[in-house]
């Protein structure tokens, strides 16, 4: 029986140990971070298309501002939005409730992980206000640039000078965030292994629980080298060591290897949870078992292992031995195969299904389509080392990774929001505005990212504040492409306000849900009240079936909840 008490406001938002409240705290914190990252994107996109204009709400953008904006946009979106939203929010909210238990295995560790996350956010935001300005060395932080002052020509005189710089604060912020995610990851893994409801064997777990756990373990395996690298970078900045200084026995290439050894698996850490979210949604809304459950699982494990062997494809022209590039090129091309299998299995789930095209389904199908057709396929260009010579560090790469990350992180998160909002709040999101939001996001995301491919092919290199000085980049129609991208990006950002208003308005005043299981889903979170009480279940469920038994021939209705005999 559930013995948990209901808590007041302060307890709920500041000291709660309930995994749902902690997930909500993470979510609100990440909303703040995304707003900052999105604002930065708006400012530098405006500057690129209209370099002479004073950007509304910001003013004139100098080269220094521009470097700071792109760097922090990248860092915030990669580290705080992508990792945070998909591991911390989805993991915290969904894992205990989907495996039918009351809370995490270590609720206090969970609380601590949120506090570390909050510290990391505070450190990150305060790095913008350092005396010498925000961090402007690119989000990949390649030394020796990131050790110094990014070319601002300021001399450091004391330790205090060196410590209170954006470089130090950004590195500390990343360290704190990774500690938070490690604590979260350990919690997810232990909870999943030890606290599953009676009868829930490992292969009866919903796919998303698997995906978040594989992602967390992959994160743990890959994060070590980055932490070591970041520690050395921190010493280089503050203690005057020379780990990355070639004139004192170091090597800048060392950082690139350590960074990408983490950086590439991180892409899959980000990708796997949305693939899990999509699996839940397409199976439920196709009213059909998820095609090839174990097949998908095996391919995911293969991809996770392969993802540790491809890091140097970010470095084909970085000065590594060109013969090594061939090996990494082969592994990079091979890693497309398990993902092709996973995507084809998802498409096979759609076939012969009784499709319900509702909002979460639209986001899920939109994510698969864009991720496969454009994000995935353009990876082949870059994985082929020869074309990467040309495309590396051009807008082509920018377009490619926006097409891989945006459909998964943003579309995947929205799919999850529209799918689980009723469970989470007990109210419904407005469907009309949901549709408007979907179509605006879908259209203007493409309008923003697709021109970048063409710009990249025309030779437009990255991270340039002002393209006017490059004649070959100002020929028609390239400035027009830049303007299309910018206008689309601005509309894309504005249309997110529709979601924000819809979210907060519905949270307080939305229509109450009529059923605890509106999608007629099988998994355990739908078999309790909406919103679930502290402790999640009135009576702890016992599991008798796999998570995707839709249209079972022996049953009259088309679904069979996991806890029903």
């Amino acid at each position: 029986m559930n013995t948990h008490k209901k808590h007041g406001f302060w307890h709920r938002y500041f000291f709660s140990l309930d995994h749902k409240d902690i997930g909500f705290q993470y979510m609100l914190t990440i909303f703040v971070m995304v707003s900052i990252g999105g604002f930065f994107a708006y400012v530098f996109r405006m500057h690129l298309a209209y370099p002479e204009m004073e950007v509304p709400l910001f003013g004139l953008v100098t080269n220094k501002d521009y470097n700071m904006l792109i760097t922090n946009h990248g860092l915030i979106m990669m580290m705080w939005l992508a990792l945070g939203m998909l591991l911390a929010v989805a993991g915290n909210y969904l894992i205990p409730i989907m495996i039918g238990t009351d809370d995490m295995a270590f609720p206090k560790l969970n609380k601590l992980s949120y506090w570390f996350f909050l510290i990391s956010v505070i450190l990150m935001i305060s790095s913008f206000f350092m005396k010498r300005g925000g961090f402007g060395g690119g989000w990949t932080m390649y030394p020796p640039l990131s050790v110094g002052d990014f070319g601002y020509n300021t001399a450091y005189t004391s330790f205090k000078d060196r410590f209170f710089t954006a470089n130090t604060f950004v590195l500390l912020a990343i360290t704190f965030e990774f500690i938070a995610l490690l604590m979260g990851g350990i919690n997810f893994f232990v909870t999943t292994l030890n606290k599953r409801a009676k009868g829930m064997t490992l292969t009866k777990m919903p796919m998303i629980v698997w995906m978040i756990n594989i992602a967390s373990v992959l994160f743990m395996f890959s994060v070590g080298p980055l932490i070591a690298g970041a520690f050395m970078l921190l010493l280089d900045i503050n203690a005057g060591t020379g780990f990355y200084d070639v004139y004192r026995g170091g090597d800048p290439l060392l950082w690139e290897h350590l960074f990408w050894f983490f950086g590439h698996p991180e892409v899959y850490v980000i990708l796997l949870p949305p693939l899990g979210i999509i699996a839940e949604i397409i199976s439920t809304n196709s009213r059909k078992p998820l095609y090839g459950y174990k097949f998908i699982l095996n391919l995911t494990l293969i991809a996770a292992i392969l993802s540790m062997m491809v890091w140097a494809h970010h470095q084909f022209v970085s000065g590594i031995d060109p013969r090594a590039a061939t090996i990494f090129s082969i592994f990079t091309i091979i890693i497309s195969l398990p993902f092709a299998g996973i995507i084809l299995a998802y498409i096979a789930t759609l076939w012969n299904g009784d499709l319900k095209i509702n909002l979460p389904m639209k986001w899920a199908i939109g994510a698969i389509t864009l991720f496969t057709l454009i994000g995935g396929f353009t990876g082949l260009y870059l994985g082929a080392s020869v074309f990467d010579i040309y495309a590396h560090d051009t807008s082509f790469v920018v377009a490619h990774f926006h097409y891989t990350l945006f459909p998964t992180v943003i579309f995947g998160s929205f799919a999850a929001f529209y799918y689980w909002f009723g469970k989470f709040s007990g109210r419904e999101l407005n469907k009309f505005w949901g549709n408007v939001h979907f179509w605006l996001t879908f259209i203007f995301f493409n309008g923003f990212a697709f021109p970048l491919f063409l710009l990249g092919l025309a030779g437009q290199h990255r991270r340039i504040a002002d393209y006017r000085q490059f004649e070959f980049l100002m020929q028609d129609p390239l400035p027009l492409y830049r303007q299309i991208a910018t206008i689309s990006a601005v509309i894309l950002i504005l249309s997110q306000f529709i979601f924000i208003f819809n979210f907060f308005w519905s949270l307080k005043r939305g229509k109450k849900v009529t059923s605890d299981n509106p999608w007629e889903s099988n998994t355990l979170e739908w078999q309790t009240a909406s919103p679930p009480p502290h402790g999640n279940f009135a009576v702890y469920p016992e599991v008798h079936h796999g998570p995707y038994e839709y249209n079972h021939p022996d049953r009259e209705d088309d679904f069979l909840p996991q806890n029903k005999k």
């Binding site: 080269n63 402007g136 060395g137 690119g138 020796p144 640039l145 110094g148 990014f150 070319g151 601002y152 070639v246 800048p252 290439l253 059909k288 095609y291 022209v317 000065g319 061939t326 090129s329 082969i330 091309i333 195969l337 092709a340 299998g341 498409i347 096979a348 759609l350 076939w351 012969n352 299904g353 009784d354 499709l355 095209i357 199908i365 698969i368 057709l373 396929f377 082949l380 082929a384 080392s385 020869v386 074309f387 010579i389 560090d393 063409l454 092919l457 025309a458 030779g459 290199h461 991270r463 340039i464 000085q469 490059f470 070959f472 129609p477 995707y548 839709y550 249209n551 021939p553 088309d558």
Partner: protein, 221 residues
């Protein structure tokens, strides 16, 4: 309107060929994937019975098709690798016989080019330098010693399809052979501080006689 900048190097066409090869294959693949996604959405699979839906989900008939899909992609993948391997080895792993030798040095925020002096040898006292302007002869194998002075930069010559990061304390020798005379941009493709956007040089590709005249002019200075 052309997609790429005009090609002006001996291996640029090979790089473009890989692009068009991959484009061709993924266009076909995209059409298949679009059909696979849209068909069930548009038809909604109305005529299926309950048993059919459940059995299709649980069964393994489609697995053969998925393996087929993976196999086709694998063949395409390895075909790309097979095609690009020799090109990569030609551009990156081998150095053709040296006809002209220059040093390209990136520093915050300009490009410094060093040519051999009258003795015809680099790294000697009579070497001559130009800033942000590189003179090269047409149709000669040019060896470039790529270096950086302070932070990581990246030599990017879009018209030659050439790119190489340069790192402080490291000398990387690569080659290029320009096939057309004219003026081409050389830019920095790796963020290197606030002047990154302004780090721009010109490559002036000259006929052999003009190149010799230009060098003589530099020696006089």
């Amino acid at each position: 309107m052309r997609i790429f900048p005009e090609n002006a190097s001996s291996y640029g066409a090979d790089v473009d060929f890989i692009f068009w090869l991959i484009t061709g294959v993924i266009t076909v693949a995209s059409i298949i994937v679009i059909f696979l996604i849209l068909y069930p959405i548009l038809t909604k699979n109305k005529s299926r019975t309950k048993e059919q839906r459940y059995q299709q989900g649980k069964g393994f008939q489609k697995l053969k098709l998925i393996y087929l899909g993976i196999a086709i992609l694998a063949i395409a993948d390895f075909y790309f690798l097979f095609e690009e391997g020799p090109i990569w080895r030609n551009i990156e792993e081998t150095l053709p016989e040296k006809e002209v030798h220059v040093i390209v040095m990136g520093r915050q925020w300009l490009w410094e080019f060093t040519y051999p002096g009258p003795d015809g040898k680099l790294y000697t006292a009579d070497d001559v330098k130009t800033i942000n302007k590189l003179y090269l002869p047409v149709n000669k194998n040019i060896h470039m010693d790529l270096q950086a002075y302070d932070v990581i930069h990246s030599v990017f010559i879009p018209h030659a399809r050439f790119k190489q990061d340069v790192l402080p304390g490291r000398n990387i020798t690569k080659w290029v052979k320009m096939t057309k005379t004219g003026t081409y941009p050389l830019t920095c493709a790796e963020i290197c501080g606030i002047g990154h956007a302004n780090m721009k040089a010109e490559i002036v590709v000259l006929l052999n006689e003009d190149y010799k005249k230009q060098m003589a002019k530099l020696y006089k200075k």
